[in-house]
C-alpha cells in the first residue's frame, strides 16, 4: 500500500529526516513511535506533500508520490488528520464534513455519506448544525477523523489523535480504529500513548532523531521494555 524509501526532509537548513524507510501493507495498522522531535509528524507531512524540501521515494499503491502536490495525493486515496488546527473555525459540523467531500468523486452522494458517518459518530450526529469549534476537544478530533474518513480513503494517516482528549473518548476512538481496520482501511498512526497504540497496531517503527532505529511487530514491542524506555519515555 505505502512504501517509503530513503526519505529525507529538511526544515530550511536543518536535515530533519534521514533515510527513513517504512512499509505499510494493505489492511494494516502501523504505528510510529518515538520522542517529541523524533520526526514522526515530519514523516506524515512528507508523505502528504506538505513540506517544501524532501527527497527519496514514496510509493502509494505503486505510484510515486514525490513531486505531486498534496491535492493529487488526496485524489489517489490518501488522507491525513493533522495534529493541530483540526477544525475550521466559522463552519458547522455538517460543513466540516462536506469539506471532506468537496474534492472527492463521491461528492454526489454527499447526503448519504453524511448520514453514514453520522451513524458511526453519534456524537456528531447530534450536533450537525452546531458551530464545530464549540464542541469539546475530543469531539473536534472525532470530527477531524470523520472528515478524513468520509471520502473513503485507502490509507489514513493520524497524527497524535488522542492528545489532550478525555480517556473515555480515547477508548471510543481506538475502538473506531479497530473498526476501520476491519473494514479494510489501512492506518498509519503517530501516537504518544504507546501502550494503547501498540494494542491495536500490527507493527511499529521506532524513530529517533530523524531515523528509524527499530522496527518490530506490535506484540514484540509491547513486551520490550528496554526499547520503550530508551526511545519513548517522555
Amino acid at each position: 500500500m505505502l512504501r517509503i524509501s530513503q526519505l529525507n526532509a529538511w526544515y530550511s537548513a536543518s536535515h530533519v529526516l534521514q533515510d527513513i524507510s517504512i512499509e505499510v501493507a494493505k489492511g494494516e495498522i502501523v504505528c510510529l513511535i518515538g520522542r517529541n522531535g523524533a520526526g514522526k509528524t515530519t514523516t506524515l507531512k512528507s508523505v502528504m506533500g506538505l513540506l517544501d524540501k524532501t527527497r527519496g521515494s514514496v510509493l502509494f499503491k505503486g505510484r510515486e508520490l514525490m513531486g505531486q502536490p498534496a491535492h493529487t495525493r488526496f485524489a489517489l486515496g490518501l488522507a491525513y488528520v493533522p495534529e493541530e488546527r483540526r477544525i475550521v473555525q466559522g463552519l458547522s459540523v455538517r460543513e466540516n464534513l462536506r469539506l471532506g467531500l468537496v474534492a472527492s468523486p463521491q461528492k454526489k452522494r454527499e447526503a448519504e455519506l453524511i448520514d453514514g458517518i453520522a451513524r458511526i459518530f453519534p456524537r456528531l450526529a447530534e450536533r450537525l448544525d452546531q458551530e464545530a469549534v464549540t464542541m469539546s476537544g475530543g469531539e473536534q478530533q472525532m470530527l477531524a477523523i470523520a472528515r478524513a474518513m468520509i471520502s473513503k480513503p485507502d490509507l489514513i494517516m493520524l497524527d497524535e489523535p488522542s492528545e489532550g482528549i478525555m480517556p473515555v473518548l480515547v477508548d471510543e476512538m481506538f475502538e473506531l480504529f479497530r473498526a476501520m481496520k476491519a473494514e479494510g482501511t489501512t492506518v498509519l498512526l503517530v501516537e504518544q500513548n504507546v501502550e494503547l497504540a501498540l494494542d491495536i497496531a500490527d507493527r511499529a517503527y521506532v524513530l529517533d532523531q530523524g531515523t528509524v532505529v527499530h522496527q518490530a511487530s506490535a506484540r514484540e514491542l509491547l513486551a520490550d521494555s528496554e526499547i520503550k524506555e530508551r526511545y519513548c519515555s517522555v
Binding site: 491535492h71 473555525q89 463552519l91 468537496v102 474534492a103
Partner: protein, 294 residues
Amino acid sequence: MDGLSFDLIALQLFAGLALGAIYVLFAIGLSLIFGMLTVVNFAHGAFYMVGAYVGVYILMLGGNFWICLIAVPLAVGLIGLVVERFLIRPLYGRGMDYPLLLTFGLSYVMVELVRIAFGKTGIPFDTPDILQGAVDIGVGYFPLYRLFVIGAAAVVLLALWLFLERTSFGLIIRAGARDPQIVRVLGVNVAQVWLIVFGIGTAIAGLAGLLAAPLQGVIPEMGGTILAEAFVVTVVGGMGSIGGAVLAGLLVGVVVSMTSLFAPEMGKVSIFALMAIVLIVRPQGFFGRAGLMS
C-alpha cells in the same frame, strides 16, 4: 439649523448610501482577496478604473449600459485572472511585500496604458436614459441612478452571499480563508481557488468602476482616490471580513456624504479621523480577527 431641514439630511443620508454602495463593492473584492490570498492588492483601484474605461469603450462601439453591466465585470475579471496566474502566482511563498510591490507597480502601468489609449483628460459618462431623473422617496426627490446603484450593489452582495454560503466552491473559499492547509489536505487545488477568487474580486471592482462612472466621470486617476478610501473601509470593517466591508463601506459613504453637507472642507479628512477612532477603540476593526497581521 437654518436651511438644513430634516429632509435634506435624509436625502444626504441616501446619497451617502449610494456612495457607500460603491465603496462596499470595491472593498469586498479587496477584502476577499486579502482574506484568501493574503495579497494586499494595490492594483484594485486600477481594475476599478479599467472597469469604467471598458464601459466607455463599449459605449464608443455602440453598445449600451446594460451590455456594460455584463461585459465589464467579465472583461475586468479576465484581466484579473491573467494578472494572478502570470504575475502574482510566482510570488507566493515569498512574503506579503512581494505581491504588494508588484500590484503597486502594476497599477501605475495600467493607469499609463489607459492614458495612452484614452488620453489624460476626463471623459464624461452619461447616465443611461432610463435611469435619468429623480423619484420621490418620501423625504424628497432622489436621483434614480443612485437608487439603481444601491440596488445593483445589493444584488451583487446577495449573489456573492449565496455563492459563499450555498455552494461547495463557496465552502472551500470560506474554509480556505481560515486554513489553506486543511483544504489542501482535503484534496483541493488551492492555487486554482486563489486564481478564481482574484478573478471574482477584480470583476466586482470593475463593476464598481462602471457604476461610479455616471456619478463622477471617468479619469485615469479615479482608482487612486477610491483605493485610499477603501483601505479605510477594510481597516474599519476588519481585514478579510466581508460583513465588515459591507458595514464599514456604507458607514464611510455616509460619513463622507454628511461631512460634505455640514463641513465640506472636512470631507476627505473625516474618514481618516473615523479610521483613527476605530483603530484606537477596536484595533482589529468591526469584524476582524485580532492578530491577523502579526
